[in-house]
Amino acid sequence: MRNLRPCQSAGFSLLLAALLAAPVLAQVDFTGEWSPLYHEDGPERLPGPELGDYTELPINPAARMAGDTYDADRISVVTEYQCRPHGADYSMRGLGNLRIWREIDQTSQKLIAFHTHMLAWDSERTIWMDGRPHPPDYAEHTWQGFSTGEWDGNMLTITTTHLKTNYMRRNGIPRSDKAIFTEHWMRHADYLTVVTVIDDPVYLTEPLVRSDNWSLDPGQNIGVFGCEYAHEVPKPEGTVPSHLPGKNPFLHEFADWYGLPYEATRGGAETLYPEYQEKIKNEYHPPDHCTRYCKCTSLFDCMVDSK
């Protein structure tokens, strides 16, 4: 190796400095095809939650009543619900085959945005990385909302506002359009972990914190989702199925199936903390053997399990 002359050395130093400086703009590249892992909350995320299961949700009485009066016929009778997608927050839980790509400004080589595409409802989202502000309050809300990201070391923290009203759990527990959704994306080699936080002044008394994981899957090919509504059940126009307060016959099923005290299935901040296990330990009588969703980490497993 020949020696560098001073001017070459200076140029090399500048190049080195530029290369070292570049990661400040984008510490980690999340680009790629990611396959969701369902080892957490598989039964809720794949076949769907049990009716009346509000466990792990720091909900207020408004959300609880919404769940208690929810009639699952609503998603077929209200035709506008048939093609209603997950919100950005629930997308991270649902059929979450995920593609991420970057938008780079050609001139400055700065990261403008991450873009995501998910299998469910072909949902696409832009996470702006160029420091632009969120829209004013009066702007339209969308299913994916308006997202901006900031680096915290190698972790990407994303803030999403302007979401449409959607569900926090698909058994009638709502999430309002006033919610703020925060994500923390962390990549460890071929694994992506996303910690999500929902702050909802309408339906939560505390932030709802959850996590989801993906593994890198370069061979993944996400197909077209597609959806067209149809009148599936003959009902008078404008019918909105709902149980009258106190008249839902299904609310105790979940507690009975799993041997849980009914109170523990009702959600609320208290039920999130370890001390609550102590409180209900004498009332928890799990079944002798597992009968529902005993092995539910893929959609196929869960469907077989539920039979």
């Binding site: 408004a62 959300a63 009543m65 997608p85 309002s176 019918t239 909105v240």
Partner: protein, 315 residues
């Protein structure tokens, strides 16, 4: 307390159990923001009712005119879009936070290319309400503020700035003179106060409103709106108050009103009194989103209006 609230209401606003709008803000402190909706249509959002603004080569068309006191401020914003004359105004209903600026805009919107004063379109019950005796001994409404182009058929239409404008009457909803306005090429629907996503709907029983008519109106809106892929965008909806919306937002609101109607109807069938219904917490799941315990339209007033509306129907 009610007397104090009544004093604060703008002349012409109603002050009985079935409330009208809150009074106008101080113009010096008022906030109005212009936003592009889509196509030819913009919206002025802020204090008072939303004002839809359509601009083009023919001039300017407005849906609602807000409070009279805010008209100069609103006109200044509109002039940033067009220096043409105001040719058409459509009043969605009679309340002063939506029609208070009729006279002011008729003057402010005149230019050298004007062909007389703007046509002010409204369903005939709006004119009847404005020309008749005012509730609570409120002063008469000056003639300059009246609509000059009333209709009594199910709809009226005209052409402006390269697109068809369809004005549909929605009977006995928020009031008995409600209109919704569809900008067909721009694919934008202005709903007036039939749809107010920032609070429970005001059902002005004294002026012919009803919960059944309101639900019918919301369902009519859903017949007109068509979203693009996956229930988003497409037809955009300008509510009477509050942020820009689309069909999915109207669905949530229609569901809420329908579900509450069903609950209160059931309670009436079971013989519950109004006081019992108001104590029963039948709106708990929606109160944190739409409700209020103070102000010009409380949850209690909304429940009472639904109860009275359904009870009247039973008679």
């Amino acid at each position: 307390m009610r007397s104090l609230a009544c004093l604060m209401l703008f002349a012409g606003a109603i002050c009985g159990q079935q409330q009208g709008p809150p009074g106008p803000p101080d113009p010096a402190a008022a906030k109005l923001q212009m936003a592009h909706v889509q196509g030819n249509v913009y919206v002025l959002i802020g204090d008072g009712g939303n004002i839809s603004v359509q601009v083009g080569k023919d001039g300017i068309m407005l849906v609602d005119t807000g409070f009279a006191q805010l008209a100069p401020l609103a006109m200044a914003e509109i002039r940033k879009l067009s220096d043409g004359p105001i040719r058409w105004i459509v009043d969605t209903h009679v309340h002063t936070d939506h029609v208070g600026g009729n006279a002011a805009f008729s003057k402010l919107g005149m230019t050298r290319t004007s062909i007389g004063a703007p046509r002010i379109v409204a369903q005939s019950n709006v004119l009847n309400r404005m020309t008749g005796p005012q509730p609570d001994h409120q002063p008469k409404i000056p003639e300059a503020e009246w609509p000059n182009d009333e209709y009594f058929s199910p709809f009226k239409d005209f052409f402006m700035n390269g697109e068809a404008i369809k004005v549909y009457h929605i009977p006995n909803a928020h009031t008995d003179g409600d209109s919704i306005v569809y900008f067909r090429r721009s694919d934008v629907l202005a709903t007036g106060d039939i749809f107010t996503p920032d609070h429970y709907p005001i059902i002005d029983l004294e002026r012919g409103g009803s919960v059944q008519g309101l639900i019918a109106g919301l369902n009519r809106i859903l017949e007109i709106t068509v979203p693009t892929k996956y229930e988003e965008g497409g037809t955009l909806v300008i509510p009477g108050h509050g942020r820009l919306c689309d069909e999915a937002d109207v669905v949530e609101y229609r569901n809420m009103v329908t579900i509450i109607r069903d609950r209160i109807q059931d309670a009436i069938h079971r013989g519950l009194t109004l006081a019992q219904v108001q104590e029963a917490g039948l709106t708990t799941d929606y109160d944190t989103q739409y409700g209020a315990t103070t102000g010009f339209w409380t949850t209690s007033q909304f429940v009472e209006a639904v109860y009275q509306s359904l009870s009247e129907k039973k008679k």
